[in-house]
């Protein structure tokens, strides 16, 4: 690729209670770009983000973020390192007992000793960036799902991280909410120079904003490259996923016995 | 502001707990500040202590004047030696007083009653009662009566 990579995954193997989720994933995520990680549901896309964030440890292989090997960090170093990362969870994960303002102020109150008026200014700036400055006194339960996610976005950029990870940012959004989020992700990336990792199965939206994309299925990377490269990818599986064909290398039917046998019509006329 | 009201209610809660502890200490267990003051120890030897226990009551004319500290066996005389602490302000128990084990009511607890003697000298700390009267044992009383002794 020749690009400076911010995150490198080398032969990452991970299994959860006897189920192999990744069997040797190797992946480079370039610095300062938007990378989309796509794949069918249940392929462990969120697990991948948790591995990068150090919430899970791989069985083997290495994960290097900004030159630092994540699995080797001790608990305390890991917590310090995470101040460089922001993560937007699928549900937003706002603290339900704090107001919008306090939610965004939370990382600053914990990690910095900034004076109150400065925190106030920064929080309002971040809320302005997501267009919710007027909602600062509301509680999370009073916001719509889309607004929840925008507040969470403001919170994850409160400490000006180098890396931001989006877990299914478009899931369950109406077209307007989706448009807002697409714009926000693109703006944040260009204005702050963030490295962004986007996990999604919304092919069109993801491909429209990412610089680089990769597709994971069956515990492996099955295709990677720029959106253009992917659209012309030779693999049938990639094509099936990108275009949403119901049948193909990923079969429509869940593995089962022959239909005739299940319906009790095998071996004879009745 | 919300934090402030929380602090105040939690403070009141703690105070209520403290007040309740004070109530249990003073009103329920009768732990009065006075009882911490000085006591002195005197002894009595009994042939039979019956059912008295440590922490039991020592009284004089029905007024509690002290408590039983310990009950041990004197291996030389085979008598029970009872140590009791008497309130420091009751310092004029006549030296010829007797320690008697009594029962409050028919089935009540047993306690030591000091029946007053007439001598001018008083018992000093560490002294032993000259005369004692052991616990009344109903079974023995009945068997004595039945055998006509």
């Amino acid at each position: 690729m020749g690009l400076d990579s911010y995150i490198t995954l080398k032969d990452v193997v991970f299994s959860r209670s006897d189920r192999r989720i990744f069997s040797g994933v190797t992946l480079d995520i370039p610095r300062g770009k938007i990378t989309a990680i796509m794949g069918p549901s249940g392929t462990g896309k969120t697990t991948l983000l948790r591995l990068i964030g150090g919430q899970l440890r791989p069985d083997s292989g290495n994960i290097i973020v900004d030159g630092q090997s994540i699995p080797e960090l001790r608990r305390k170093e890991l917590y310090t390192f995470r101040e460089k990362m922001g993560m937007l969870f699928q549900s937003g994960a706002l603290f339900t007992d704090l107001s919008v303002f306090e939610n965004v102020a939370f990382p600053m109150r914990v990690h910095t000793k900034l004076p109150e008026d400065m925190i106030n200014d920064i929080v309002l700036m971040k809320l302005e960036a997501v267009g919710l400055r007027g909602a600062r006194n509301l509680m999370p339960s009073e916001l719509s799902g889309g607004m929840n996610r925008r507040v969470a976005l403001a919170r994850s950029i409160a400490l000006d991280p180098e890396l931001i990870m989006y877990d299914e940012p478009f899931a369950g959004q109406d077209p307007i909410g989706m448009g807002v989020l697409v714009k926000l992700i693109r703006d944040l990336n260009s204005s702050m120079g963030l490295t962004s990792v986007l996990v999604s199965h919304d092919v069109q939206e993801s491909l429209s904003i990412c610089h680089y994309a990769c597709i994971i299925a069956d515990g492996k990377v099955i295709g990677a490259g720029s959106p253009e490269e992917l659209k012309n990818h030779p693999s049938e599986q990639v094509q099936q996923f990108l275009h949403g064909h119901p049948d193909g290398p990923v079969p429509f039917h869940y593995p089962s016995a022959a239909a005739a046998e299940d319906f009790g019509v095998a071996g004879g006329v009745s | 502001m919300i934090q402030r009201t929380t602090d105040i209610t939690v403070g009141l809660f703690m105070l209520a707990g403290l007040a309740a502890l004070l109530f249990l200490a003073l009103q329920v267990s009768g732990l009065s500040p006075k009882s911490a003051k000085s006591t002195y120890t005197i002894y009595a030897d009994f042939n039979d202590t019956g059912g008295i226990t440590p922490r039991g009551r020592v009284s004089m004319a029905g007024v509690t004047v002290g408590s039983i500290d310990s009950i041990t066996l004197n291996k030389e005389t085979f008598q029970a030696r009872v140590a009791m602490s008497i309130h420091g302000d009751v310092d004029n128990i006549p030296a010829d007083s007797a320690a008697v084990i009594r029962t409050s009511g028919l089935l009540g607890e047993q306690y030591i009653d000091i029946s007053i003697g007439g001598e001018m000298d008083s018992l000093q700390p560490g002294d032993t009662f000259y005369s004692t009267q052991s616990a009344m044992n109903i079974e023995r009383l009945i068997s004595n009566f039945a055998s006509g002794k």
């Binding site: 917590y79 922001g86 | 809660f13 707990g17 009768g30 089935l107 009540g108």
Partner: protein, 260 residues
């Protein structure tokens, strides 16, 4: 047959494993010095929701239990003509046993289940994960204040329970059934010892507070983050806490009062 023995062994191993996990969890919560500046307001908030909000049920239950003890005690003791011992009976029962135990059972139902559900929901909505990703340890930020609050609140609640119960017993015994007030208090004071009875009762409630809070926060933190998982964790909190309290009560009673 072999299958049964194997499954018995497996469930035994499961119990040991979960106790081990709970112990490691506890070590994670208690390790590290709590920071007083940020920690204190958090503790206050939890003391409020765990302690102050449980006060109403504690006071009402204490009152009724004291009154029932008064009634029952009077009926039994008056057969022996020793109604005056009612104060002694009520006070000893409450201070030694019912105060700590009933408070702990009510606490498990009222505050323990709420703690489990709250933490479980925070887990299900990824709030704990997002805290971790922000570089904040949820064990210290979320779990530790709740554990300490349970630990501190329980003895206070138990003391208040005993006091209200003794007062309720007096209402029935003295005001209603006509036991002489002087002998109610007098008998009580003669037989209740501050160190042996009151303090031992408080030690019991400290132990119960610790165990109940530990079970509650662990079940919440360890639950399966779905609605079914949270509801089963809440049930487990109440069941395990109650069993632990009753079992420990027997052990503590045997140690404290057994050599009489």
């Amino acid at each position: 047959m072999i299958d049964r023995i194997a499954s018995l062994g497996r469930s035994g191993a499961d119990v040991v494993i979960s106790i081990g996990r709970a112990g490691r969890f506890l070590a994670g919560v208690l390790s590290g010095v709590p920071r007083p500046v940020t920690g204190f307001p958090l503790l206050m908030k939890q003391l409020y929701s765990v302690g102050v909000l449980s006060l109403a049920i504690i006071v009402v239950s204490g009152l009724f239990i004291g009154m029932v003890l008064g009634l029952q005690g009077y009926t039994i003791l008056s057969d022996f003509g020793s109604e005056a011992a009612i104060g002694q009976m009520i006070a000893l029962t409450l201070v030694r046993e019912l105060g700590p135990v009933v408070t702990a059972l009510l606490f498990a139902g009222r505050a323990g289940s709420a703690l489990t559900a709250e933490i479980g929901l925070m887990k299900a909505t990824e709030q704990l994960s997002s805290m971790e990703m922000m570089g904040v340890d949820p064990l210290r930020r979320v779990i530790a204040p709740r554990l300490w609050a349970g630990f501190i609140a329980m003895p206070i609640l138990a003391i208040i329970f005993s006091m209200v119960g003794i007062w309720g017993g007096m209402l029935v015994g003295v005001e209603w059934l006509g036991v002489f007030e002087g002998s109610y208090w007098g008998n009580m004071q003669a037989s209740v010892d501050f160190w042996d009875d009151v303090v031992n009762g408080i030690i019991k409630s400290v132990v119960f507070g610790f165990v109940c809070a530990w079970i509650a926060v662990y079940q919440g933190y360890d639950c399966v983050p779905t609605s079914a998982g949270i509801s089963s964790a809440t049930t487990k909190t109440v069941v395990y806490s109650s069993l632990a309290v009753l079992g420990l009560d027997f052990v503590l009673t045997a140690v404290m009062f057994g050599n009489f």
